[in-house]
């Protein structure tokens, strides 16, 4: 994402002009745009005109519209972002208060204004951090991954902030039976060819939206047992047989790893294995996975040094346990997409307190990554404490798990 101009003052109100450049930027935009913010972008709108004779003609015209956001809708698969709202600045064609849904597009600038509506949010510390992260220009890590088992493959793309399942391939592979071995081998052959052609199609699609078409994104194959190795040899054989250029370029980038199942969440073990870690060392994904691992290990020890759940964490922060010297606060960015502004403020306050007052570390995990999903299971927020506190969960009888069910599910 490119930040063209920003006029954000020290109270957190102002505007930012942004140009999304790659599909992932839509995800950032989705996280930045809050209800009651003002958003200005180029729009198509059918405008009715009454001629002097009384006939009404409707004509689509292009115009810049500013809307006050009511809701956002993000389609993960296609990376499209639709923002619904009411027109906030009147012009000659459109009346104030009429509804419009803006579709944000790649390479088309939009302006996001916060702090104009008293009901809405401002450019708080979390929003500014997100903006900074979104506009980082350095080349981002990207990886295709196929998590597979006999007959099932999940084709995903892992980027800095997202893990998106592009497609799930399922081919019925007959099991071994007396005298029926052919069926199994044929089935595997068919499964491999379907998976490979599907994968190539998705790679082609992804390339068409990229500027840098020469770059080959590495491919990670993971499976229990030997399926991934077998698939790697299949790709190699296909590459030499067909002399397909894309395929030949792909072969040297293949990494093979072990996973315990063919499910997408098995990616977390793959990406935390030392061999893969060293190749991906500094991706956000790898860092977050390591952190989640540390957290769960500490929770398992059950000695009061790690807590999860909104109330428990807030209490721990109040007691000053998430501070300098190892205190880590982990939050899912789903919390900051809360429709309720008060809810968002609650978490921003917590973040500010830990980072600025206590001196602890704050990590906002992407809810589209496996690590974020693991955190979602724990109620979207967790903390590693500097000193153990017991019984933070006392007098805590009602369920505080609304976040896990209210948040939209991916895949």
């Amino acid at each position: 994402m490119r930040l063209e101009r920003s006029t954000i003052d020290k109270h957190g109100s102002g505007s930012a002009i942004l140009i999304p450049e790659e599909p992932e930027d839509m995800w950032h935009a989705y996280n930045l745009i809050q209800p009651h913010d003002h958003l200005r972008a180029r729009a198509m709108r059918n405008v009715k005109k009454e001629s002097s004779t009384g006939t009404v003609t409707s004509k689509p015209i292009k115009l810049d519209l500013t809307i006050s956001v009511i809701s956002t809708d993000f389609d993960i698969g296609s990376g499209q972002l639709h923002v619904a709202g009411r027109v906030a600045v009147e012009n000659e064609h459109v009346k104030l208060g009429s509804h419009h849904t803006l579709d944000l597009e790649l390479n088309r600038r939009f302006t996001l204004i916060k702090g104009v509506d008293s009901k809405g949010g401002i450019w708080d510390s979390v929003a500014l951090e997100m903006l900074r992260e979104a506009c980082e220009t350095e080349r981002k890590a990207e990886l295709w991954a196929v998590v597979m088992g006999e007959g099932t493959a999940n084709i995903c793309i892992i980027t800095e902030h997202q893990t998106i399942v592009r497609q799930r391939v399922e081919v019925a592979v007959p099991r071994k039976r007396r005298g029926g071995i052919d069926g199994h081998d044929k089935g595997m052959e068919k499964f491999f060819s379907t998976t490979l052609s599907t994968l190539l199609r998705h790679m082609e699609n992804a390339k068409s939206t990229q500027q840098d078409t020469e770059k080959t994104t590495p491919l990670l194959l993971a499976s229990p047992g030997f399926v991934a190795q077998a698939f790697q040899s299949y790709i190699k054989a296909e590459a030499t047989r067909t002399m397909n250029k894309t395929l030949l370029a792909l072969v040297p980038t293949i990494l093979v790893a072990h996973s315990s199942t063919h499910h997408v969440h098995a990616l977390k073990e793959v990406l935390s294995s030392p061999a893969i870690m060293s190749k991906l060392s500094d991706t956000k994904f790898a860092r977050e996975t390591a952190l989640m691992d540390k957290l769960t290990t500490l929770i398992r020890q059950d000695d009061g040094r790690a807590w999860y759940g909104p109330r428990e964490v807030e209490r721990a922060v109040d007691k000053g346990a998430v501070g300098r010297g190892g205190g880590v606060l982990l939050l899912s960015n789903a919390l900051f997409r809360a429709q309720d502004v008060g809810e968002r403020k609650r978490w921003v306050k917590l973040v500010d307190k830990v980072r600025d007052v206590e001196g602890g570390e704050v990590r906002v995990l992407s809810s589209l990554h496996e690590s974020g999903k693991r955190l979602e299971g724990l109620g979207n927020v967790a903390a590693i404490l500097t000193f153990p506190i017991e019984d933070l969960d006392e007098e805590d009888e009602e369920v505080v798990n609304h976040a896990a069910s209210g948040e939209e599910m991916v895949i």
Partner: protein
């Protein structure tokens, strides 16, 4: 207009037919144990000595095995048939085979021992009446197995409802039938198995040697083994009481394989009937696809029959259904009393590892799906089942608790079903579905 049924039903009363037929009792057993402890070889030996496999086939396998320098694998290749299994020398998937003794007809389910293929092992164990746990008696092998899959498999079959266990202490020939070693292993295993809720009555220890065939079918001859007077493996198998059959209940069959049976049978399924019965001409309902099909032919142990009942593992040749509606792990039931699809359930679990709310793989026989433990509801007392602590933060190994599980998609699951929860290649807990 209603189509006339393509297959005519004989409208048999299967329960009565079964009584009349005076059929030998049937039992399915799963062979479990750590990788490379000789499960497949032992079963190959069993089949060979019982003349299920003829000398010619064994000679052929032996020759093939020698050509790639693995002559000791010949017997295992009776069970391990895919090229991958043979090249790598490990079992990948369940192998099914049949044999009979004077009293009983047995179905062998030879499970893979390798850690990665535990899903397949669970699929096999869920079809079994009892289990044969194979242990390598040689130095260090037993010990490393006990840390590995010997332990995990034993815990799994127990939580899948298997109560009877035959422990085959294998490779006795390599330690010259040492009595002290056999007793040492029996002792260690007894202690472990009783803590895993097996009753000592249900466990039998049998020393044997799969590669040479001593004490498998024929009694051991060497003087080293004169101390042993107990049963041979086949005698121990014969002494096992098969589990109760729920013939009167509505039909439930878990599909373990879908394949093309041949020109006359374009779509076939196989799997164990958990309850009820099925006969030629019956209409069946495949869940979760919710599609009906008609049973055209039934085969049990590769022979055509008119009906099959609970406990058997038949092959059903079907018509009037598209293969895409059938997948391994699906449930076949009667349209009159279908299984309900659910995506959220509470279950009582016995934890093997620490349990936190997190994503898990949920296993039920061949069924294998993504899900997550969304809430830990309560920690329960192990003996009485009463609530000890509400909403525990973490469940420790060995504790019993009640949790809510949310599945990624709706699946046919019923109250009383046994499920296994795994995470990252480890079995986290085994549970009983409560609703």
């Amino acid at each position: 207009m209603e189509e006339s049924p393509s297959v005519k039903s004989k409208d048999l009363n299967v329960a009565e037919e079964f009584e009349k037929s005076g059929m030998k009792r049937m039992a399915n057993f799963v062979v479990i144990g750590h990788v490379d402890h000789g499960k497949s070889t032992l079963m190959g030996r069993l089949l060979f000595d019982l003349n299920v496999i003829d000398q010619r086939s064994i000679d052929k396998l032996r020759k093939e095995a020698e050509t790639i320098g693995k002559s000791s694998f010949a017997l295992a290749w009776v069970m391990d048939q895919t090229s991958e299994e043979r090249n790598r020398g490990v079992t990948v998937d369940i192998a099914t085979n049949h044999f009979e003794t004077e009293k009983t007809r047995f179905t062998i389910l030879d499970a893979p021992g390798h850690k990665d293929f535990i899903p397949n092992m669970i699929a096999g164990a869920s079809q079994a009446d009892f289990a044969v746990l194979v242990i390598d008696a040689s130095i260090n092998s037993f010990e490393s197995g006990l840390r590995g899959q010997t332990k995990e498999h034993a815990l799994l079959v127990r939580s899948l409802g298997v109560q009877r266990l035959i422990v085959a202490v294998n490779k006795m020939d390599t330690i010259s039938w040492s009595q002290s070693r056999f007793e040492e292993i029996s002792q260690a295993m007894s202690t472990f198995l009783t803590t895993a809720n097996f009753s000592s009555k249900g466990i039998t220890f049998v020393p044997c040697a799969g590669l040479t065939g001593e004490n498998v079918v024929r009694k051991v001859q060497t003087s080293d083994a004169s101390w042993y007077t107990g049963p041979s493996l086949i005698e121990a198998l014969d002494a096992s009481e098969p589990g109760k059959r729920h013939i009167e209940k509505p039909l439930r069959l878990t599909i373990s394989d879908v394949f093309k049976g041949g020109v006359i049978a374009p779509i076939s399924i196989s799997g164990r009937i958990e309850a009820g019965s099925v006969q030629v001409g019956d209409a069946i309902l495949a869940m979760p696809a919710n599609e009906t099909a008609t049973v055209k032919m039934i085969e049990v142990e590769n022979k055509p029959v008119d009906w099959a009942i609970a406990g058997q593992i038949p092959t059903l040749h079907l018509t009037d259904i598209d293969p895409i509606h059938l997948r391994s792990g699906d449930i076949v039931c009667t349209p009159k009393d279908p299984v309900k699809l659910i995506n959220t359930f509470t279950c009582k679990i016995l934890a093997f590892e620490h349990v936190l709310p997190s994503s898990v793989d949920v296993f039920r026989g061949r069924l294998h799906t993504e899900g997550k433990i969304s809430a830990l509801l309560a920690r329960l007392d192990k003996a009485t089942g009463e609530i000890v602590k509400k909403k525990p933060r973490v469940v420790k190994p060995g504790e019993v608790s009640r949790v809510t599980v949310v599945l990624e998609k709706e699946l046919p699951l019923e109250v009383g079903t046994r499920v296994v929860l795994r995470e990252g290649g480890n079995t986290v807990a085994a549970g009983l579905l409560e609703g």
